[in-house]
């Protein structure tokens, strides 16, 4: 069976602000299996990027990880020294950021930047590293790679730079690739090309990918499993089919309904989620979605437990709890007779 690659258990991250603690991530547990593509969906402020940064140990003051355990392939990542992290980062775990315009060094050639990673982590000599870098660029669909290695970032378009970033992230054959909104800054046609690249990656390598995005189209087309985050918590978790065809959580349902339908009757009115996300400086004690939820009731004032609807399909909602209670009561009654 598939192998657990990364497990995150009860991760909490907060940022010290003048007004108090901004609790960006408030107890998040999930796992990523080897070779799978996990989508992490949520709106701005839901804690999805902070979760990724916490996995990479890139949370800088005033932020800090207040609790939680992260393990990669069975070994704990919490409490590693910065020196140990440097061996890990870019080697076993790599990250691609949203903005390809600012994440490359403008005064170094693409070749220098690519070979730096390869030489540091894989110990190749300069010539071998350049040959390897050219091969990597070819793999991500950049033509004439030997020439391109001598060029500077400004000579590349946005889509090409993102390809370079992905090539760099893949250069050490990481076990886990964290991609934080890798296509958000790109045009639709370029976005489709980059996503094809991720699909190839899924098919041809053992690298697991965590794809952070707010675009449900990206998730539907690329991911195998999905985590839906809201207010620093995981609202629902399941396979792509679970999330798109059998969503349970009112937030997931609301997100899917707020998209324009394709096909006939395109002027049909959209169904938005009314209201705004909660303030995480002073988060509500109960369900974070309570204020905007059409099904909110008295019980929602306390935090719902995580309910397993089907193997791997989990949700954090009182409605699911109540449904299971009802089902349990029904079957007990049946047994009593």
């Amino acid at each position: 069976m598939t192998q657990r690659l990364l497990t995150v258990d009860n991760l909490k991250v907060s940022f010290a602000a003048r007004e108090g603690e901004n609790q960006a991530v408030r107890g998040v547990s999930f796992h990523i299996d080897a070779g799978e593509t996990l989508g992490i969906v949520g709106e701005s402020g839901s804690g999805k990027s902070v979760t990724a940064k916490a996995i990479m140990s890139l949370i800088a003051p005033p932020g800090r990880i207040t609790s939680g355990e992260i393990t990669l392939g069975g070994t704990s990542l919490t409490g590693l020294s910065e020196k140990e992290w440097r061996r890990l980062r870019g080697n076993r775990i790599a990250m691609v950021f949203q903005d390809p315009m600012t994440s490359l060094n403008p005064v170094k050639t693409i070749g220098q930047q690519l070979t730096e990673v390869i030489r540091r982590h894989r110990g190749l000599k300069k010539d071998a590293a350049y040959a390897e870098a050219a091969e990597l660029l070819r793999q991500v669909g950049i033509r004439d790679p030997e020439q391109r290695l001598k060029q500077y970032p400004h000579e590349f378009s946005g889509g090409m730079r993102q390809r370079v970033m992905i090539a760099m992230a893949l250069s050490c054959k990481p076990e886990l690739l964290l991609a934080d909104e890798p296509t958000t800054a790109l045009d639709a046609t370029i976005q489709a090309q980059i996503l094809d690249l991720f699909k190839d990656l899924k098919a041809n390598t053992q690298t697991a990918v965590a794809l952070i995005t707010h675009d449900l189209g990206v998730v539907a087309q690329v991911c195998t499993r999905v985590i839906v985050m809201y207010g620093g918590l995981i609202m629902e978790e399941g396979t792509v089919e679970d999330i798109f065809y059998r969503p349970q959580h009112p937030y997931t349902i609301g997100l899917l309904r707020s998209l324009p339908k394709r096909g006939g009757g395109s002027r049909e009115r959209l169904v938005p989620i009314e209201g705004t996300p909660p303030d995480l400086l002073n988060p509500p004690p109960g369900c974070p979605f309570m204020e905007r939820c059409p099904h909110a009731h008295a019980r929602c004032a306390s935090l719902p437990p995580v309910t397993e609807l089907a193997p791997g399909h989990r949700t954090m909602c009182w409605l699911a709890v109540e449904q299971q209670e009802k089902a349990a009561a029904g079957s007990e009654g049946g047994n009593a007779e």
């Binding site: 946005g158 046609t189 707020s258 324009p260 959209l270």
Partner: protein, 306 residues
Amino acid sequence: MSDTNNVLVEVENLKKHFSKGKDMRGRDTSLLKAVDGVSFQIRKGETFGLVGESGSGKSTVGRCLLRLYDYTDGEVRFAGQPLGGLGEKQLKPFRRRIQSIFQDPYSSLNPSLNVLELISEPMKIHGLHRGSERKEAVLELLTKVGLKPEHLYRYPHEFSGGQRQRISIARALSVRPEFVVCDEPISALDVSIQAQVVNMLEDLQAEFGLTYLFIAHDLSMVRHISDRIGVMYGGRLVEVAESDELYDNPLHPYTKALLSSILETDPRKAGERIALDGFSVSRGEGEAAPLREVSPGHYVAYDFTE
């Protein structure tokens, strides 16, 4: 194109070239032809969508319509009146009738003004609602865009992106415009908020009889909100049609490729993507094919004889 009495905005052979460099005599050495011969009409009360990739010139067209840019060539007529040659003073009444909403709700509001000042500023400039009436008018607008009276004395930093966009919309509507240029008004907003703003734009359009130019790159949202859509590529308009007609029956190869890049929000429907390699209409190269009407209301700039 027929139906001239219903037309509010008419763009004819619009060109906007930017200088990329000058020689020692001050002559342009190279030109960036951001918009290179674009013609279309927007009818009263409709939403005209403009789509294209970054650099296609769609925002430049919007800015030319607002006369934020002086165009190189061509003409924009608003309600029959050519705007190109007008001076700032003659233009002022049109500045009221044509308003705009921009993409970034963080940089398009003055951080040192509160909501009352932000929304009443355009009224002040155009001399609408004098005295205490003005505050009444602002309050009424606030409720129309879904904000509360207690927000009146707050500053932009106290609001979320969606709320700021609501303030921008209230500000644009404060002078009762007829035509609003919406340049990517929802791109910076979260999915759950986008639908709120789109619905509000549609409600306000119905209430005030507004005409919109809706510039965006989110193809599924453009289809939802627009009556007609123009597709831009390399500074030219390559196809114009009713929105459902365009999405169901795209004719230009670029439109086809662009539409094939829409990501289906359905995991079982993996769309067949058309690659964009070796494309014929490149910027500033020779004469492009003119827009031709191939079926009623469907225009395409492509030579199908090959």
